[in-house]
Symmetry: C2
Subunit: 247 residues, 2 copies
Amino acid sequence: MSHFDPALSLSLARADCAACPIRHRAVCASCEGAELERLASMKSYRSWKAGETIALEGDALAHVGSVVTGCATLTRSLEDGRMQMVGLLLPSDFLGRPGRAVTPYEVVAATDVTLCLFERKPFERMLGEVPNLSSRLLEMSLDELDAARDWMLVLGRKTAREKVASLLANILHRAAAADRPLWAELPLTREAMASYLGLTIETVSRQITRLRKDGTIRLEGARVILCDDLSALLEAAGEDGDGTSPG
Amino acid sequence: MSHFDPALSLSLARADCAACPIRHRAVCASCEGAELERLASMKSYRSWKAGETIALEGDALAHVGSVVTGCATLTRSLEDGRMQMVGLLLPSDFLGRPGRAVTPYEVVAATDVTLCLFERKPFERMLGEVPNLSSRLLEMSLDELDAARDWMLVLGRKTAREKVASLLANILHRAAAADRPLWAELPLTREAMASYLGLTIETVSRQITRLRKDGTIRLEGARVILCDDLSALLEAAGEDGDGTSPG
DNA sequence: AGGGCGGCTTGACCTGCATCAAGGTGCGTC
DNA sequence: GACGCACCTTGATGCAGGTCAAGCCGCCCT
């Protein structure tokens, strides 16, 4: 499993920000002392209920920030209403675009969600003054870019079964850490999963049923999944489940 | 057409680097005087023939740089051989990952290609010393991220016809600037197009034929496309071709 | 308890694209 | 000129996943 990397679009949650109570990586990890305090004094928190829209495509963006609790989604859409989720934000993921005035995605709270926000303008000013901050954000952006490109492989080349298995494996990977058996409460509705996977809700439902009947996963209600054998799930996802990386 | 943005993965070619003979945006636009000279002294050039591999997935990366002439592709693949192109590099696009030791993609020359390269280590050192440089790279990474996410919408939700039309529109957009009628020589084989679009080579061929029979595009040989009516092509691509953006 | 509703599942059918197969075109080479 | 080869096109067929439709489950509300 060495080269299996969570492909969710914003899988930035590394455990390298222990000092910060809100795990605000972008900020915490790059500042010290007075700078950290100055940034901390700029923070504010805001919450949304599940289903609420945080920003529409094209909205002006006055803030940047990161997810403290909950789950939010980034979605792009075509004129005729077809939608594609392009990012999934989990706690510690960064949201916003230093240097950009508008968001090109719709941002929606998938569950109840709390964000830690900074006003964009002063944050951008700090970007120029604190060298570590922008290189930190650069690193995060490269992570996001890798994840987005991994997801392009999923969208372009995997079957419905593999897509669903990939998503479930990712969610388990991020949510479950080291529990045996692995389990997670799905933060997404079937509709949101379909939107992420480039499928329809019916196909997602059928593939989950099939994985359950196969014994690859178990369900408790519709929103809790358990997995006794991650390598079987990874194999269903089209990854090698055994830890060997071919050349 | 106001919100139609080229969705090719690395569409960073803005005309804001006029001063630099090689249009090396990431560097030119962020440095002045002595710094520019210092960076310039680190440059080297290297060329590859069409079809040659520039780097394999997992290769160590000793350089970063950008495309001077030609066209290169970034590809990810599954164990069973399925491949997905995740980025297309055209002149002025940046290649490489400051702070990263390996490339997660296979990089291949689609046409003969010349890169302008910097050794990664000294480049990274400069990143810390020249504040504008990392914020510049951050901006470029955010552009790439937007483009990758736009492409996720194409991969996940568009039909084969729309995918092909989207790709052709993008290539015309980048190659043709203001010519009427728009025309471009395709830098990609049908196979590479299929790889980018998540389709098979046969489907790409059929859809190009169909667009030609429709009168949406014209061909000269297999590799030169002409388009008299861009809005018709955009409509075939599932974009609105008339310049109005619905709320 | 009953009704309404959002979210999920299942079934029947259809279609768009993949697959398999054959043949065409242009170009370099002997 | 004709052979070989890479690239492209076209046709026939099959199937994965989309579409349409019906119904179930859990939950809130009164």
